[in-house]
């Protein structure tokens, strides 16, 4: 997280005015001498430091940035120059995305001749796949440990992410940046070719092209240390210097039948929970497209929620359905562990005893020949009281796929659950539940938690020449497939909630799915999203693909957008004025305890720039997603997530030329010589002034 602080500016602003020609409409902000020397790199993403109870991971640079001579590594042999042959260490390596592998990184980590790394994003994505996550994601924080299914712990039975190289969880002592813009990468390569290549057999000559990366992180060692330092600072200092922040945000939840959020649910009431995660991660900070790992699942979930709300007897079902969107699941289940913790301590309206069954959607976009796999927990499946309920749940699921192009199959009953929020609920209580995924054993996703998990990864392809509006509504095959998954889920939930009617009428709308996919993967600033958000939150929408990282300041864009989309899809429009909507206690017929009222800005009228706002009544709520370890101040906890993000002041990158040491020394010596010479001359002239300036004639006048 960036800390704002005063930076000392050297040099007067006015002095350079005659040299400074302003190129753009803004005031001359960068001194023109600085512009002669440096080229700033604007489209970059850094790798920052994250800490947990025992380790620090990520990258660190020196306080004033790390500088190195640029060397472009396009094949393996180029690395020898950096590691052994090159005469001007330390080097700043510019790496092609394909070569960004664990072996290369471990070689770079072991040497002192590397002062930093810039990775050029590979287009197209590396064909063999790339995943900097762990092979066994969230190991140790799920349900399988030495007491509960020890043969399943630590991925002994199934390796979920075989392509995972664990780079995101390594600690590097030099800065690593991602170059997102191919044009900037080309500028750097051009500078390298102009100055850094050896000429005529001898080594490259000065001036050499160099790069400087600034990414100094304030936190060290682990969460225990940095939180302890935080508490010392806040206790004793007037302006505390916080060094790290816990990763936190909010979970979004909503119920099919409205419940009183401030009162606890009756123990006899039962709830079916359907859950997905909404966050992802990659090696670089705030780059987390998460198409297959997160977006596909929560988009299908939202579509299922919409379909269920359209069912006529939704409000008379025996059991309630709770749609839960967990934030922070990538980092050892922050959101779900917090919800379970709140449920255990009666801080949440629903209690663990009320949960009838649990259905989770994991990665569902890359279905191989329409197969969707049902994963259940083998350990609780042997429990006599839970087993029949699990069987009934699976039966319901298998029945719901009739007539839909989805082939539901159950994985072997001795296979453990994949990494899922359901595992945190099982830790607390044996609940019957299942996880739906497109993979039987190892992930189908070859870019799990990487920068390449984008719309392309889930095969979202649009035809050429469509306008943004047309692209928003165009139904891709991916959207169709996710809509089918959503239909299956909605029908299963209806039956699990005790519905007895005909389920063939429950259908998820592919058009809604395609709009959500467009909004969450390509561009949030589209007409639909604009019409469903509050008026004062226009900064929420951008033109770049959105990133789904939990971050430390909340609520992040993803959480807010999910909240608004859920409200729009499952809520109803009520005829309140703006005053009444913002203050529901004054509105007739409004029930503030059961519902949430939002004044959204509405869609634009045709041929007009004004919008027609309206009030939406929904059951959408936010609940805090901060790991219980921070509530309990157990920063070394092995039971709850302890992930924190370091703070930093300045993150930027720039390239420039460096002069040889000889030229620098010559300049210095010449300057000193002139100084000494002028002192001597002045002394001499001053001492003999009466002789030198004693000519008669017009002297004194």
């Amino acid at each position: 997280r960036k800390v704002s602080g005063g930076a000392a500016g050297l040099g007067p602003v006015v002095g350079g005015s005659l040299n400074c020609v302003s190129f753009s409409s803004g005031v001359c902000w960068a001194n023109s001498v600085e512009r002669k020397i440096y080229i700033p790199l604007n489209r970059t993403a850094p790798c920052v430091r994250l800490l947990n109870a025992t380790h620090q991971v990520g990258c660190q640079s020196s306080m004033n940035g790390d500088t190195g001579v640029i060397h472009v590594v396009e094949k393996d042999q180029d690395l020898n120059w950096v590691l052994a042959d090159g005469p001007h260490p330390p080097y700043m390596v510019l790496l092609e995305g394909e070569l960004f592998t664990r072996e290369l990184m471990l070689r770079l980590k072991g040497t002192s001749r590397v002062s930093g790394l810039a990775v050029a994003i590979s287009k197209p994505s590396p064909p063999r796949g790339f995943s900097p996550g762990l092979q066994c994601p969230n190991d140790g924080f799920g349900v399988y440990d030495s007491d509960y299914g020890p043969q399943y712990a630590h991925c002994n039975w199934t390796v979920w992410n075989p392509l995972g190289n664990g780079l995101s969880y390594e600690d590097f002592h030099f800065p690593i940046f991602l170059l997102e813009d191919a044009n900037e990468t080309q500028v750097i390569k051009q500078c390298y070719q102009d100055h850094n290549l050896p000429r005529n057999g001898s080594g490259p000559e000065y001036p050499l092209c160099a790069m400087q990366l600034f990414a100094h992180m304030h936190a060290v060692t682990n969460t225990v240390t940095c939180m302890r330092r935080n508490s010392i600072q806040s206790t004793f200092s007037l302006s505390p210097e916080v060094v790290c922040d816990p990763l936190s945000d909010s979970n979004v939840w909503s119920t099919l039948k409205p419940i009183n959020a401030s009162r606890k649910m009756d123990p006899a009431d039962e709830v079916v929970i359907v859950a997905t995660r909404i966050d992802s991660h990659s090696f670089f900070w705030n780059v987390a497209p998460g198409a297959e790992s997160a977006v596909s699942s929560f988009v299908a979930h939202l579509a299922a929620a919409e379909a269920l709300h359209k069912v006529p007897d939704a409000l008379t079902l025996p059991r309630n359905i709770m749609f839960t969107f967990f934030q922070g699941e990538t980092f050892d289940y922050i959101g779900s562990s917090r919800m379970v913790y709140d449920m255990e301590r009666n801080k949440f309206p629903v209690r663990l005893e009320n949960i009838h069954s649990f259905l989770e959607l994991s990665q569902v976009a890359l279905r191989n020949s329409s197969a969707l796999w049902v994963h259940t927990d083998p350990v609780s499946g042997r429990n006599e009281s839970v087993r029949p309920q699990v069987r009934a749940l699976v039966e319901t699921l298998l029945n719901s796929s009739l007539g839909v192009n989805v082939t539901l199959q159950e994985v072997s009953q001795s296979q453990p659950l994949p990494p899922s929020s359901f595992q945190r609920f099982l830790r607390a209580r044996p609940i019957p539940g299942a996880v739906l995924a497109d993979h039987r054993a190892a992930f189908q996703n070859r870019y799990y938690q990487s920068v390449y998990d984008t719309a392309e990864n889930i095969l979202m392809r649009y035809p050429e020449g469509l306008s943004p509006e047309e692209t928003l509504d165009y139904v891709t095959d991916t959207a169709q497939s996710l809509a089918e998954v959503a239909t299956v889920v909605a029908r299963a939930l209806y039956q699990l909630a005790g519905g007895t009617g005909n389920t063939s009428a429950i259908q998820a709308d592919p058009r809604t799915v395609s709009r959500m996919l467009y909004g969450f993967l390509i561009k949030t600033n589209n007409s639909w999203f604009q019409s469903i958000i509050k008026q004062d939150l226009k900064g929420l929408l951008g033109d770049e693909p959105p990133q789904h990282y939990i971050a430390v300041s909340y609520p992040v864009n993803t959480t807010q957008l999910v909240q608004f989309v859920l409200a729009n899809l499952t809520g109803t429009v009520v005829n309140f004025t703006k005053e009444e909507c913002l203050n529901p206690e004054r509105a007739p017929g409004a029930d503030k305890e059961m519902y949430d009222y939002t004044w959204v800005q509405g869609s634009r009228e045709p041929n007009s720039t004004s919008r027609v706002p309206f009030c939406v009544q929904s059951t959408v709520h936010l609940t805090k997603a901060l790991s219980p370890a921070f509530e309990l101040k157990e920063w070394g906890s092995t039971e709850y997530s302890t992930w924190t993000e370091s703070r930093w002041k300045d993150i930027r990158a720039r390239i420039f030329l460096v002069a040889s040491k000889e030229l620098e020394i010559i300049t210095l010596v010449v300057g000193i010589a002139i100084l000494v010479l002028s002192l001597l001359a002045t002394y001499f002239i001053n001492a003999k002034a009466h002789v030198l300036f004693s000519s008669p004639g017009d002297v004194a006048y």
């Binding site: 030329l657 300049t667 002139i674 002192l679 002789v691 030198l692 000519s695 002297v699």
Partner: protein, 237 residues
């Protein structure tokens, strides 16, 4: 450094600083004019921007010389006041000394403004050149600054002498040479085109100012010879 020459007594320090301030004001006004001109014009039109820069430099030179003249007028009045206040009817500082320190003040402030920006950026790890500029940028800027400081000092002496003795052609020469030196910087990055003429002019101005200040070549040679005769024993006496 010439600052050594003014730090001996308090009297010359004040005019130095005052003149430095006058230079600052002249720079402020001229940069204001140039800034407004740039803002009012089309930023994409490169020849126009270049033309405006030339106009800006021209205007700044003329304004600096105008302020020098203004300062001379101010000093004239001041000396009358100082004479009236002093005990022995003489001012503590002669007009010649005023001319010298005034020029020095001008030069020092001009030098400071030229170099501080550069020095601030020279502190970083990079050097000029990534866009194709010459690597000797800092070195040549330093030499240019030095020659400008010297020139301002000598121009000060010349200008005040011209004002005192009503020799308008001396003042005109100062303005003209100032324009030539400033204009020669437009030859950059062909540093030969700006440094060499400026240094030649500087030596010329130095000689002229030396003569006007009461020095002459005879004294200089005598001095040098005197030194030589002191070191080698006189044959007989």
């Amino acid at each position: 450094m010439p600052m050594v020459t003014v730090s001996g007594s308090p009297a010359p320090v004040v005019p130095t600083l005052a003149m430095a301030f006058f230079w600052l004001v002249s720079l402020l006004l001229s940069s204001l004019v140039w800034f407004i001109a740039v803002k009012a014009s089309d930023p994409g039109n490169k020849p126009l921007q270049k033309g405006l820069l030339i106009f800006g430099v021209l205007f700044s030179v003329l304004l600096q010389e105008a302020f020098r003249f203004l300062y001379y007028k101010l000093l004239r009045k001041a000396i009358e006041g100082l004479v009236a206040l002093s005990e022995d009817g003489c001012s503590p500082i002669s007009i010649q000394q005023m001319a010298y320190v005034a020029g020095l003040g001008f030069g020092l402030m001009s030098g400071a403004f030229s170099m501080i920006n550069l020095l601030a950026d020279a502190l970083g790890p990079g050097t000029v050149g990534i866009h194709g500029d010459s690597q000797l940028y800092f070195l040549t800027s330093a030499f240019m600054t030095m020659v400008v400081i010297f020139l301002h000092t000598f121009w000060g002496i010349l200008f005040f002498h011209g004002c005192e003795t009503q020799r308008w052609w001396e003042m005109a020469a100062v303005v003209l040479t100032h324009l030539i030196v400033s204009g020669s910087t437009f030859w950059n990055p062909l540093y030969v085109g700006s440094l060499i003429p400026s240094y030649l002019l500087m030596f010329a101005m130095a000689a002229w100012a030396y003569v006007l200040s009461g020095g002459c070549t005879r004294n200089l040679l005598q001095r040098l010879q005197g030194q030589q005769s002191e070191t080698s024993p006189q044959p007989g006496s």
